[in-house]
């Protein structure tokens, strides 16, 4: 706390940035996806044919050279996963159950693993 020993920089900005980005996705993109993929077809907003495999597959893999699919998975699965992981990590600290390196590795590690799995599944 004095001039001679400078406090170590926290790596938290990285997790906080992912958390914030994930929060925006959770609030905006995820409800949009639920609306488009679940509610509108269910309530007859548009016909289920619009969600046919060839159509969705083309959207995910071909639109914008595959970037559309990447953006969709990133904003509906990966970033929200990091958002949730951050919450759980800090929640564990609040419950005095963790918050240290182990919970960090477990929380962000599972977010990363599940993100990779999601990306693998659409690749």
């Amino acid at each position: 706390m004095n001039d001679t020993t400078q406090a170590k920089r926290s790596d938290e900005p990285v997790w906080w940035a992912l958390f914030s980005a994930g929060g925006v996705c959770f609030a905006v993109v995820v409800p949009g996806a639920i609306l488009a993929l679940a509610l509108l077809p269910a309530f007859g907003g548009f016909s289920a044919d619009n969600l046919s495999y060839p159509r969705i597959s083309a959207l995910l893999h071909d639109a914008l050279w595959g970037l559309a699919g990447l953006a969709f998975i990133g904003s509906v699965i990966c970033l929200p996963l990091f958002h949730a992981a951050h919450r759980i990590h800090h929640g564990l600290h609040d419950l005095k159950l963790g918050g240290g390196l182990l919970s960090k590795v477990l929380c962000y590690g599972s977010a990363a693993a599940l993100s990779l799995l999601a990306l693998y599944l659409i690749s």
Binding site: M1, Q6, A7, K8, R9, S10, E12, P13, W16, D94
Partner: protein, 236 residues
């Protein structure tokens, strides 16, 4: 009108933990918790508590009223028609009755170098536009009462956390156009006990008697620390 007030008494020499003691006080529409404590002190001169200005400016009369951090002089008995319990500020060590050891708080305040840092020597006045003043003015209203530390669960869990008022004070100087000390303050803010110790509970801003909004300052500090992080990646 007579009213019962329960006070958490604690004498470190004899008690293992605080004990509630009930007192009767006279109360009308204008009786503050501090007035009530002064009445109790007439009945029992051994009651320990701090106060000075009686007008919400010195910041020394902080206590928990029914478990919420409050200034005794700015809190009125009329707003507590039912039970009224006064205890020492949470998250600090109690020295006696309602007196706590504020040293950890003061150490955190000092750690952020809360003064103008500027190598430039000039005998001219340092002019500031209203817009430049508006950037930090609200954060300069802190009276160092420490209520926000009692409200902050993260400070409760980790006393090393710089805490709301200290981070606010750092922002107050970092945002001041006359100051050039941001680089010297950022390392404290960038650390895990700096802005990143906050999980944005926001209770600090609710209890602040001066509407300083320390939670806003901490969040601005997070943005500042995140940009400092990115800038540092491009520096050797």
């Amino acid at each position: 009108m007579s009213k019962t007030i329960n006070i958490a008494r604690y004498n470190p020499q004899t008690d293992s933990q605080p004990q509630l003691q009930a007192f009767q006080v006279d109360s009308d529409n204008s009786t503050s918790v501090l007035d009530a404590l002064l009445q109790v002190q007439q009945q029992d001169p051994s009651l320990g508590f701090r106060w000075s200005c009686r007008m919400a400016i010195c910041g020394s009369c902080g206590v928990m009223v029914n478990g919420i951090p409050k200034l005794g002089c700015k809190t009125f008995l009329r707003d507590y028609p039912d039970k009224l319990t006064v205890s020492a500020l949470a998250h600090f060590n109690v020295e006696k009755d309602l007196i706590v050891d504020m040293q950890p708080f003061l150490t955190h305040l000092a750690a952020v170098k809360p003064y103008l840092i500027n190598a430039e020597q000039s005998s001219q006045p340092h002019r500031q536009t209203p817009a430049q003043l508006a950037k930090y003015q609200q954060f300069a209203n802190c009276i160092n009462c420490g209520l926000c530390y009692s409200a902050c669960p993260q400070f409760g869990l980790n006393p090393e956390f710089l805490g709301p008022a200290a981070i606010t004070l750092a922002q107050r100087y970092n945002l001041d156009s006359r100051d050039a000390g941001k680089a010297a303050r950022m390392p404290e803010l960038n650390s895990k006990n700096g802005v990143w110790g906050c999980t944005f509970v926001g209770f600090c801003s609710e209890v602040c008697p001066k509407k300083v909004d320390p939670a806003a300052a901490v969040n601005q500090g997070k943005v500042a620390s995140a940009s400092d992080f990115i800038i540092s990646m491009f520096k050797p």
